[in-house]
């Protein structure tokens, strides 16, 4: 009998065969292990993403939610509260307002890439993507340098889950608490010495005269740090893996850097790190012969929708000429990723600079160790050989 356990190491390693069975045979599937419904077809996920009144985020959006987080962040509130919260931060993340960051981002990318010169082999994560992403986030949020390695370690841990207990383990909760303390320190510092930056504005903001509550300021800041580091780093690692595994695509992008944005979009579709998020039903929904009840949790398997042949022909082929419009690599609808513009900009600059130093590379290990996470998917280590 078919089962789909988003906590299983085999799903961390390769969810795509499961997704195909889900889409073809069980498009509205009850996962006993996750205790939620799983939607896997592109059209069903888009419909759910557009209908926040039915598919609510207010009970949490991570597959394995962190304690006290639901209701206090952008991803875990519904309109109208969500829209007001988002209005406070989204201008900082608009493409045109990020232009000033492109110089510093390029400097960071070039500097980290330079450390790889003359190396015959390196770990793309430890030696490139994680150093790059944490420095970009620190530059974007104006965080004080010095704690980068620790912040990165905790951001990566807090998104993980335990495959045996199917819950957050003590080390994941400890990382989450550490990150909240770290964010609280930054917020206190900005309140004492306000600057013209995102966290200063946000921590002083009112919504309709109703000051943001402390938990909202704290957990939204915590989430921005987590997403900025883990999600961007995880995505870049998946893109590095795709280019290492598809030598024609890598060569095309190296020869014509103007193709990097096409490789980014196809990587977002093909195997982006944000595989699954959840919603909670506000009313009964009939779908594909099943009745999902009000109060049930529903997994939107973005990674499965992105491989739906009903939307993308030949979906298991990585094709940088595809230009996959409307993909779910950043989710979709009112809760689509806040960081789309900075993620695209950072990944573009990072790969342009990386390829100047390392134009030819291949994956070393056939089998990779994958992060244990019910929500995100990326390898823990990605050794690349330069030849």
């Amino acid at each position: 009998m078919f089962s789909f356990d988003p906590y299983a190491p085999s799903v961390d390693a390769d969810p795509f065969p499961y997704y195909k069975i889900l889409r073809d045979e069980h498009p509205c599937f009850w996962s006993k292990q996750a205790q939620m419904w799983v939607l896997s077809r592109y059209a069903d996920i888009v419909t759910a993403g557009q209908d926040w009144q039915t598919y609510s985020s207010a009970s949490g959006n991570l597959m394995t939610e962190l304690p006290n987080r639901a209701g206090a962040t952008l991803g875990t509130t519904d309109p109208p509260r969500h829209d007001r919260l988002r209005g406070l931060v989204q201008h900082a993340f608009m493409k045109r307002n990020l232009e000033a960051l492109s110089g510093p981002i390029r400097e960071i990318a070039a500097g980290v890439a330079e450390t790889l010169r003359d190396k015959r082999q390196f770990d793309f994560i430890d030696d490139f993507s994680s150093i790059f992403t944490v420095r970009v986030l620190f530059a974007a949020l104006g965080l004080p340098m010095g704690d980068e390695a620790m912040v990165r370690e905790k951001a990566v841990l807090m998104v993980q889950s335990d495959p045996v207990t199917r819950a957050k383990g003590p080390q994941h909760l400890e990382a989450y608490n550490w990150m909240q303390d770290y964010a609280a320190g930054v917020i206190a510092e900005r309140r004492a010495n306000p600057k013209d930056d995102l966290i200063s504005h946000f921590s002083a903001a009112d919504i309709d005269g109703d000051k943001l509550d402390e938990r909202e300021v704290l957990l939204t800041t915590t989430t921005l740090i987590m997403a900025g580091i883990e999600s961007l780093g995880g995505f870049m690692t998946m893109m590095g893996l795709n280019l290492a595994d598809h030598q024609d695509a890598r060569q095309a992008v190296v020869d014509h850097p103007a193709l990097v944005p096409d490789a980014i979009e196809e990587s977002l579709r093909f195997n982006t790190s944000a595989q699954r998020f959840r919603r909670r039903l506000q009313k009964d929904v009939e779908l594909h012969g099943q009745t999902m009840k009000a109060g049930d949790f529903v997994c939107l398997a973005y990674g499965a929708g992105n491989r739906d042949e009903r939307q993308y022909p030949n979906p298991d082929s990585y094709d940088i000429a595809r230009k996959p419009r409307g993909h779910l690599g950043f989710g979709g609808g009112v809760h689509a990723c806040l960081g789309t513009a900075i993620a695209r900009l950072s990944a573009k600059i990072a790969f342009e600079e990386f390829h100047k130093v390392v134009p030819v590379y291949r994956r070393v290990a056939e089998h990779l160790a994958w992060m244990p996470s019910s929500t995100f998917r990326s390898p823990l280590r990605l050794d690349l050989a330069v030849h």
């Binding site: 059209a43 888009v46 419909t47 993403g49 557009q50 209908d51 829209d83 988002r86 209005g87 989204q90 993340f93 608009m94 493409k95 045109r96 939307q311 419009r325 409307g326 950043f330 989710g331 979709g332 609808g333 009112v334 809760h335 689509a336 990723c337 806040l338 789309t340 513009a341 695209r344």
Partner: protein
Amino acid sequence: MVDIVFVEPSGNRVAVNINEGWSLMQGATTGGVDGILGECGGSCACATCHCYVDEDRLGELPAAGESELDMLDNVAAERRPNSRLACQIKATAALAGLVVTLPDTQE
């Protein structure tokens, strides 16, 4: 399913059959319409799904909300009285046959 007619910047008219409840942006991008980007994925955060709605039928649409009006300040092409963001308009049976014109530029 709702038929919406998009007029691309070239003047080409494309009729797209959109699932009820989907936004016009989602329908246009998955339907391969030119002249619309929707970079933010539909969260009303990028102003790259700017469109001009058939003026005669403008009144049939739910009015733009605060965040849409705010984001319309950021459109790249000329903002007109019938400017809307396609990610904020849901396809409903009442809108069947609506003509939506896309501007020359979105960025």
